[in-house]
């Protein structure tokens, strides 16, 4: 089945999210849509799937015009979608999840699970997607959960499958497996729309690549196009994909973590007795698949977590158990994982956000009197220094793009004296240009002799920036390796496989 979009336009107020987009996905083709965050990929797919309505334009299936005004219309014409965030009920079994919304019952209104099981087995065999129908979803690894989502789409006879950023949550091995699954599906005649911003994957699996920038189709290219070329089309200018990792001086340990355990409110250990240190002038990356305790470990370093045991030595001084404020002012800069929730206050102005941790000290305040003058003049300086794109420092931070919000966070954290920078997923959801900026700042801090701890799930980022890489798996640090490790070795570690070879 082929899917064609003709002159799809969608505006939100003054913003044109999709500007007369044309796109054709042939039968049995993997069509990658590549674009930065905010380029309009998701809007376009939500239109195709019936979650949004286009202002103008047509959707054609096998050359015939169709009306899609809600997801059920999309399902009826054979379009299925696997969302970035899975739409599964964790405590239900696979079979229960898959029959959800299409429940068939036998006598006495008893759910007919056997039928669902049989259907799942058929699909599993046909497409090589091995899943146990009776497994409870929350016990399954993320990669398998994704398979459940794909089966869900296929069972309702989707002929065009939309995969929205499907590899964001996967380990490298799971990603490879997904790419194989995609090839299998393609060989069975399923068309796939693959939405991503990861160049490597696109080149590995796509038949055709459409690049979207600021709501417009910039070009349709073949997968033989080089990564650098794809990146520059995405961003609109030449991009430096691998920041310089030249030889640099490394000093002694500036932050030492000993036997650190972090527990959740119920007392279950999320981080289990980890040991590591970071030297000044060094980037230590903490890699791992999301949800293996990295977030909690990062938060524990400034005592944001409630139940922490063990020892955190900053420049030889114990800071575990200190208040968050004292931890920060002892010399740790903290870039939180969730910008919107933990990093900025959306309704506050840029100037106000820049003093979130500094408002209590000179020159910003005297006694309890806040000096608006100093706050504003300092904000003007930061905006220039960190290239925060805004009309005025009085604008609410919520009006800024993700990249500029992150710049506000970074500007704030780096504008007091620090010894260590803890950055938790600092480039998540950012566009290529902003990622470049963040990477530059991280390396600049390293070169200025700070210790940097970078928590990241992006392998490319970890490999590009780190001097040493600690891999977390189920709350433990499995190994700390030198950055000359291969992707495959790192991938195995992230999946929990230790071997003597992976060590360094």
């Amino acid at each position: 089945m082929s899917l064609e979009l003709k002159a799809i336009t969608k505006t939100f107020g003054s913003l044109t999210a999709n500007d007369s987009i044309n796109l054709k996905v042939e039968t049995g083709q993997i069509h990658a849509i590549l674009g930065e965050n905010g380029a309009g990929k998701s809007t376009l797919m939500n239109i195709v799937y019936g979650l949004l309505r286009a202002d103008s334009g047509e959707i054609l299936i096998d050359g015939k015009k169709v009306e899609i005004s809600e997801p059920s219309d999309a399902l009826n014409v054979g379009i299925g979608m696997v969302h970035q965030h899975f739409m599964l009920i964790p405590v239900f079994t696979v079979a229960e999840n898959i029959m959800l919304g299409h429940e068939k019952s036998s006598k006495f209104r008893v759910l007919d699970l056997d039928q669902a099981r049989a259907a799942i087995r058929t699909i599993s065999e046909d497409f090589g997607l091995q899943v146990d129908p009776d497994a409870v979803v929350e016990t399954l690894p993320v990669g398998i959960q994704q398979k459940v989502e794909i089966i869900k789409a296929l069972i309702y006879e989707a002929k065009v499958l939309i995969l929205d950023e499907p590899t964001a949550v996967l380990t490298p091995q799971e990603t490879d497996e997904l790419l194989n699954t995609m090839r299998d599906l393609k060989s069975k005649g399923t068309s796939i729309i693959f939405i991503t911003h990861k160049l490597r994957e696109v080149r590995a699996v796509a038949d055709q690549i459409t690049i979207i920038r600021r709501g417009k189709v910039i070009g349709a290219v073949s997968p033989t196009t080089s990564e650098a070329e794809l990146a520059s089309m995405m961003v609109g200018r030449a991009v430096d994909l691998a920041p310089a990792k030249y030889q640099h001086e490394t000093g002694g340990a500036i932050l030492e973590v000993k036997n650190l355990t972090v527990r959740d409110a119920l007392g279950t250990p999320i981080v289990k007795g980890v040991n590591f240190h970071v030297n000044s002038g060094e980037v230590l990356a903490v890699a791992g698949v999301q949800g293996n305790g990295q977030s909690e470990l990062a938060r524990a370093l400034i005592n944001l977590e409630e139940h922490i045991e063990g020892s955190i030595l900053l420049d030889g001084k114990e800071i575990r158990g200190a208040s968050i404020k004292d931890s920060l002012h002892a010399g740790i800069a903290f870039i939180p994982e969730s910008r919107e929730l933990d990093g900025v206050i959306g309704s506050f102005s840029i100037a106000e956000n820049l003093i979130l941790d500094l408002h209590g000290q000179a020159p910003y305040s005297k006694g309890i009197n806040l000096s608006a003058k100093v706050v504003h003049s300092e904000a003007e300086k930061r905006v220039t220094e960190f290239d925060i794109r805004t009309q005025s420092i009085m604008d609410a931070v919520s009006t800024l793009s993700g990249g500029n919000k992150q710049k506000v966070v970074i500007a704030r954290e780096l504008s007091r004296p620090i010894k260590v920078l803890v950055a938790s997923q600092p480039t998540r959801g950012l566009d290529v240009g902003s990622i470049e900026f963040v990477h530059e700042r991280i390396l600049a801090e390293r070169d200025a002799g700070r210790g940097v701890i970078l928590f990241s799930t992006e392998l490319d980022e970890v490999m590009a920036l780190a001097d040493r890489i600690a891999v977390m798996y189920r709350g433990e640090i499995l190994d700390i390796v030198h950055s000359n490790v291969t992707r495959e070795e790192l991938g195995l570690l992230m999946a929990g496989v230790t071997s003597a070879k992976a060590g360094a």
């Binding site: 944001l304 208040s323 968050i324 404020k325 004292d326 931890s327 920060l328 002012h329 903290f334 939180p336 929730l341 933990d342 990093g343 900025v344 206050i345 959306g346 309704s347 506050f348 106000e352 003093i355 979130l356 941790d357 408002h359 209590g360 305040s365 309890i368 009197n369 806040l370 608006a372 704030r412």
Partner: protein, 389 residues
Amino acid sequence: MKNLISRIGQSIKLPGLSFLMAFTITGIIIALSDEKVMNKIGSPIEFLKSAGASVGNAYLALFQGSIYDNRLAKSNFIEGFYPFFETIVTATPLILTGLSVALAFKSGLFNIGAQGQFIFGAIGASYVGFHFNLPIGIHIFAAAVAGMFLAAIWGGIVGFLKARTGAHEVILTIMLNYIAGYFILWLLKTKTFLRPGRIDPIAPEVAESARLPLLAGENFRIHAGIFIALAAALFVWWLLTKTTIGYKFRAVGANSQAARTAGISVPFVITATMMICGALAGLGGAVHVLGSEHALNADVAGSLGFDAITVALLGRAQPLGTVFAALLFGALHTGGRMMQSNTGVPLDIVVVTQGLIVLFIAAPVFVRYIFRLKKLNASAALTSKGWNG
């Protein structure tokens, strides 16, 4: 300047339109509940005429009862403002309780407890007022401070419990209101508080030296409390916009997680906010006793603590807005009485109007729909925010 005007325009658009709609609907209710009007339902023109007259008379009475009544201006026109002075007397404690609720909103807290805090403020002021003999000026000050102190503790209990245990402030304040309400009943039966020679729950009158000076002579009740209330509004504005403490309050109110991540102590903010809120509502109680009531009685708080929530919402949790909203409510209350005695429209209709105003403010989408407005930066977030724990 133009910017400022448009900003003010923006911020009063929603309350203004809600106000208009509330009065329209109240007018319809007044007309439909008037027998004289309903008797003419047979002929549409007569019906409309008489409905117009009925509503017009009611609203005229409302105006005369709350702002200016030329019939009262016998010797000079100032006397015609008697109703307006009454409005201010009613509004004064309401401004203070309203500020208490508004400040809590700014810190992301829903202070339902202004009622109980008000009661403790009244108790403290009353006790110092009748029990001690102090020089004029100092006596007022001491009584007001005593009231604020007790109320700050009463509010602080809520803050402390929430900060320590995570208990929800809405539940805590409601329960503490009950306790305060029954505590004052008990207190007024004790030897210390019961006025000698009385058996009904009323305390001795506060000494002359503890009474707030009257502003327009013996014939009018208006007293210096209004200046205290306005000063409090100024204080809240200053606290919120010019100090590090207010900055912390607003940061926690807008996004407590980001505030905490940046090292702001959320427990401190919660406790400090509730203490200051308590002190504000307590000052309301003190001013009420020292200015117009002069003696503590069991019903001293009336519904001042609850109306405060409405006032704060209507004032969009801004100090100046709260002042105007309290004046409006004061006018509705005093004018409503005149309306009742002159036209027979029950005082309760005023409560309907109040309710409608708040209803529309809390449902900005509805107002937007009615008036086909593109965007209203609504205070809906305000209404729902208090419940997020």
